[in-house]
Symmetry: C2
Subunit: 341 residues, 2 copies
């Protein structure tokens, strides 16, 4: 079947391509009767306006990009779900890119996306993003960026975050109230604001309960999980007094379970464990994992909705704003004193 | 900052827009010296060719769509990962659409994507897709579709599947060899070929071991998990002899655990459970879940690679082919006789 285009309609109806085009755009230059004939023909032939031709007229791609740092993660899965639903509602298309924590890759993607392919970007930066020029330049080039979760506070735009400080404080306090006196902390890259905020929440709770800070109990994890495994194992061997583990991102959850298993440390009897995580299986782990659950789908939806709100307003600068959505501490077996049966 | 376009370069260099355009396309009509001046200027100004303008010249969007039926699923997460990596390698862009098991939604998306927005589609159909006209029409309109996992055998194209019959047979045999005499089967929509093939594998294994088929022990699950919960609960109450549960897709795994918990049936002592699943947490569930693990990332990568292979060949018809990738039975605690310690 040949593709139905303006030329084919022009040939069949005996109008010029320009008349057909104007009629389909509802131009005032074309009479109502002619318009109706053309619209009827378009329907009959199943004409679908080409998005690229439409872009050339309106300079709108009706497409946004979602740039994710990794994909082995329930959190980002739920973010896609939220963003996709809002994009569809707004009749927009959603491109997905995964940086795999590669800052150079992120830079290339951002550079490339300024060529008109997308009207805006939703993203969480990589663990290794250290300079922000490429992001700044992208916004200057009128391709707005909305950050979520892993945000750049240095850049003036909308950032969708959870209450990282407060939730980490509450979780650490929960461990202390359940008897932990020596809590190992698994951090991610210091470049990330979520990392510094979550760690501040942890430190503040230690301070409140007069637990001296021991920096050797903080591990700075890397992208390579095998390396993280070794670091956590070393930590627990060198510090046999550690009775609590706080994982600051989801991929440390099963890692902590794994290492404790190898070292024959019982959870929660010997070591209590909790983690930022959206794992649907948390309730079925052995023991059930205490999690700080982030409203991931809502964050994705909110990021998309905020971007669209800005795109709807022509030629305005995107507002500099922090939108904070609350996380929930889901207390389960891994962090509480086990009841004897 | 103003966008760098052909017009701006023409003004700065004193060439016509047409000369600039031809030079950037490496046309033989333009002399080497002029070409070099123009390419140098393009680099200096940071000119990025507009993908929409490029489409208008070459009729290629350099974009493919991935249509997924649901997102609460590790399998589809890993498929995205595989497809995205191949798309990036080929310098293509990946659009994501989620049908949420809505056949009408699927039809609309497919209709819409024939307008030139994408060069091809990778997809798994919904549970409720009963007619295939929209898919047939899409391929006729020269937008090729590659199916994965949930495929349409009625349509002539490439289908990437796992060995559904063989893996279901092996898994059922494993349950029988571990003492199960009455195995409940949780099926999905009969419209799906994976559903019929997996069920045939189950039936064949029953037959081999002379276990009579009892159709009342097969549940046909729906999209609504609460309804599925009730159906499985009713099944186990009405058939107290059931000593095995076979979940034919991932979302039945935690469901089976949940229902057994409510009915105080111990896994694996009272009921053995296994499930098609790519849950990374399977090894940490209580008890550890026996899974049939599908090579999801490979399937996504293979689907993308096959689509690109076809797109590279101009004007040929896509081959009608089944590509089968093997699944692995990962035997864990939930399906085996518990050893006394």
């Amino acid at each position: 079947m040949a593709k139905v285009d303006l030329k084919m309609m022009a040939a069949q109806l005996g109008f010029s391509v320009s008349t057909i085009s104007k009629a389909l755009r509802d131009s005032h230059e074309i009479g109502e009767k002619t318009k109706q004939i053309i619209l009827d023909k378009a329907r009959e032939l199943g004409y679908r306006p080409n998005p690229y031709a439409s872009y050339m007229r309106h300079q709108k791609s009706k497409t946004i990009a979602l740039i994710l740092p990794e994909m082995n993660n329930s959190f980002f899965l739920q973010v896609i779900n939220g963003a996709e639903s809002i994009a569809r509602e707004k009749d927009y298309h959603l491109l997905i890119y995964i940086t795999h924590e590669d800052a150079e890759q992120e830079k290339n993607m951002i550079e490339h996306l300024q060529n008109g392919r997308v009207d805006g970007i939703i993203m969480a930066i990589t663990l290794n993003t250290k300079s922000y020029d490429h992001l700044e330049r992208c916004i200057d080039n009128e391709v707005p960026i909305v950050f979520f979760d892993r945000v750049c506070h240095e850049i003036e735009t909308v950032k969708i975050v959870t209450d990282d400080f407060a939730s980490a404080f509450t979780a650490t306090e929960h461990l202390i109230q359940n008897g932990c006196k020596s809590i190992g902390y698994l951090s991610v890259s210091d470049n990330l604001s979520i990392a510094t905020k979550r760690m501040s929440g942890y430190l503040e709770a230690l301070h409140k309960y007069d637990i001296p800070l021991d920096e050797s109990k903080i591990i700075h994890c890397v992208s390579d999980q095998n390396e993280n495994y070794q670091m956590l194992k070393d930590l627990l061997i060198k510090n046999p007094d550690i009775d609590g583990i706080f994982g600051s991102v989801e991929r440390f959850a099963l890692l902590a379970y794994d290492v404790c298993k190898e070292l024959k440390k019982r959870i929660p009897e010997d070591v209590k464990v909790l983690c930022y995580s959206n794992l649907p299986a948390a309730d079925f782990l052995s023991p059930k994992l205490t999690t700080i659950h982030q409203p991931a789908s809502e964050m994705g939806a909110m990021a998309a909705a905020t971007l669209f709100k800005h795109l709807d307003k022509k030629r305005s600068t995107i507002t500099n704003e922090n939108i904070v959505i609350k996380s929930t501490l889901m207390i389960r077996e891994s962090s509480t004193v086990r009841k004897e049966i």
